[in-house]
């Protein structure tokens, strides 16, 4: 009986060893965040990557972004006049990257960019699209980088209403919407207001356009809520611009300045 069992196991030694090998290899790939897979993916999909044409549909989104930026700058300007002696030193330069892939499952809102650490992209860099903020780089391989979109429920960021300076935080909900919770009980907000990142946000620089309020629910407890629609067309993005950003710099900056609106300048 025992002999038979042992023999059966001995006959199965090759499948068992192969399965063990496969599990170990898959574990290894998982631990390296799939770096080899993304490299191969980038190499295979290179002939199909977008080549810059077909940008017409994004132009109106771009115009909206510029309007939002202008409004943001004007409001900031007023604030800055009050803060005598404030000098902006930052002028970040963006890295343009094509979007080569979308999320590899259904529960995460991610995109893959076709540029990586070879082009100077690092983890925590901010990703902007035509229209506004898109997301944050979460992992990098030599030629690709994985971006967690702001539409993902796990990405929460501090945002504010540009017009009234009411602050709150926002978490993603679905492909092109997010829910914003206000810190105030009676915020001054109405549909159509422009939303941008606030200086409470540690993962993103302050002052980047995010989207527009489409509806407000004042009766929500514990805090009033609003639905935000992103100004960047998340589903039809083809290109994105990556800006350097790191948590440490932001923390240092916010320690130095009480309310430092870091520049979201572009180009």
């Amino acid at each position: 009986m025992l002999k038979n069992t042992i023999r059966r196991w001995w006959d199965l030694r090759l499948p068992i060893a192969l399965l063990g090998l496969a599990v170990t290899a898959a574990w290894g790939v998982r631990q390296t965040q799939g770096a080899p897979l993304f490299e191969v993916y980038n190499w295979v999909s290179r002939p199909f990557q977008a080549n810059g044409s077909g940008q017409e549909q994004l132009i109106s989104a771009r115009t909206q972004e510029l309007q939002a930026r202008l409004l943001e700058s004007e409001t900031q300007n007023q604030k800055l006049k009050e803060l005598l002696g404030y000098v902006s030193t930052k002028k970040p330069k963006g890295i343009v990257a094509p979007i080569v892939g979308r999320s590899a499952d259904h529960w995460w809102q991610q995109v893959t960019l076709g540029r990586g650490s070879n082009n100077g992209i690092k983890t925590d860099f901010t990703v902007m699209g035509p229209g506004g903020l898109v997301g944050r780089v979460v992992s990098v391989t030599p030629n690709t980088s994985l971006v967690l979109l702001i539409s993902d429920p796990t990405s929460q960021l501090g945002v504010g209403i540009t017009r009234s300076r009411n602050m709150g935080f926002m978490r993603g909900k679905g492909p092109n919407q997010a829910v914003m919770e206000f810190f105030d009980n009676v915020p001054n907000v109405k549909p159509g207001d422009v939303v941008s990142t606030s200086s409470f946000s540690q993962l993103f620089p302050a002052g980047l356009p995010v989207g527009k309020i489409v509806s407000v629910d004042m009766n929500k407890t514990p805090a009033p809520e609003a639905i935000v629609e992103f100004s960047a067309p998340m589903n039809s993005l083809e290109w994105a611009v990556v800006y350097p950003h790191s948590k440490d710099v932001e923390q240092k900056a916010s320690a130095g300045e009480s309310s430092a609106p870091a520049g979201g300048e572009k180009q």
Binding site: P15, L18, L19, A22, V23, A25, A26, W27, V29, R30, T32, Q33, G34, L37, F38, V40, Y41, V44, S45, V100, G101, R102, S103, A104, D105, H106, W107, W108, Q110, T112, V138, L148, P153, T154, K173, G174, P175, N235
Partner: protein
């Protein structure tokens, strides 16, 4: 002929292995793409799930084999997205369920091989099961609200199930054909 087949025994095993390996790699590389016609509300087919069902539906698979294969594919999908919560759980459940289903109902192999409907139906059910397991995992992690998960789950499960079952024959038939070919080579 016999000596020949004996001589190439190793290389045939290698061939069989490489068919498996290359097809998994293809499924993984197609995961981040969204070709026109392959997406519904921004959701694409669950290629790894289709592959796993196609692999587990074969008659000689065991529960343990399917579980380890599901774990392998789950880890690979983790690598492509985010490791918490792991996709391995849902794919292990799918692999085991498929084997149990195949064994308990003893679905005749020739029907599955000739007709695309059974495989599409099984993939439809398994896609719903997999998304439900993922939803439960997100609920257990506790950083998303139950209502949010539920409303998102309905959309994801339906889209994923429809698309996966429609695209299942595209994976299943060529793969099955290749496996049959390597096996018949082995037997001859």
């Amino acid at each position: 002929m016999k000596a020949l087949s004996k001589m190439f025994g190793r290389s045939r095993q290698f061939l069989n292995f490489s068919v498996t390996f290359v097809s998994v790699l293809l499924c993984i590389l197609i995961l981040p793409t969204r070709f026109p016609g392959m997406e519904l509300l921004g959701i694409g087919p669950n290629w790894l799930l289709i592959w796993l069902v196609a692999w587990s539906i074969k008659r000689k698979r065991t529960v343990w084999g399917a579980a380890s294969m599901g774990m392998v594919l789950g880890f690979l999908q983790d690598a492509m997205t985010a490791p918490h919560p792991t996709h391995a759980v849902s794919l292990v459940v799918v692999g085991v369920l498929t084997v149990v289903l195949q064994k308990s109902w003893s679905i005749p192999a020739d029907i599955v091989e000739r007709d695309p409907i059974p495989i599409a139906l099984i993939v439809f059910g398994m896609a719903v099961v997999a998304e439900t397991v993922m939803g439960l995992q997100f609920f257990a992690m506790g950083d998303r609200a139950l209502l949010e998960i539920w409303s998102y789950h309905q959309r994801v499960a339906l889209c994923s199930a429809i698309l996966s079952s429609l695209w299942a024959p595209v994976i299943y038939f060529p793969l099955n054909r290749l496996w049959e070919m390597t096996r018949s080579l082995e037997k001859s």
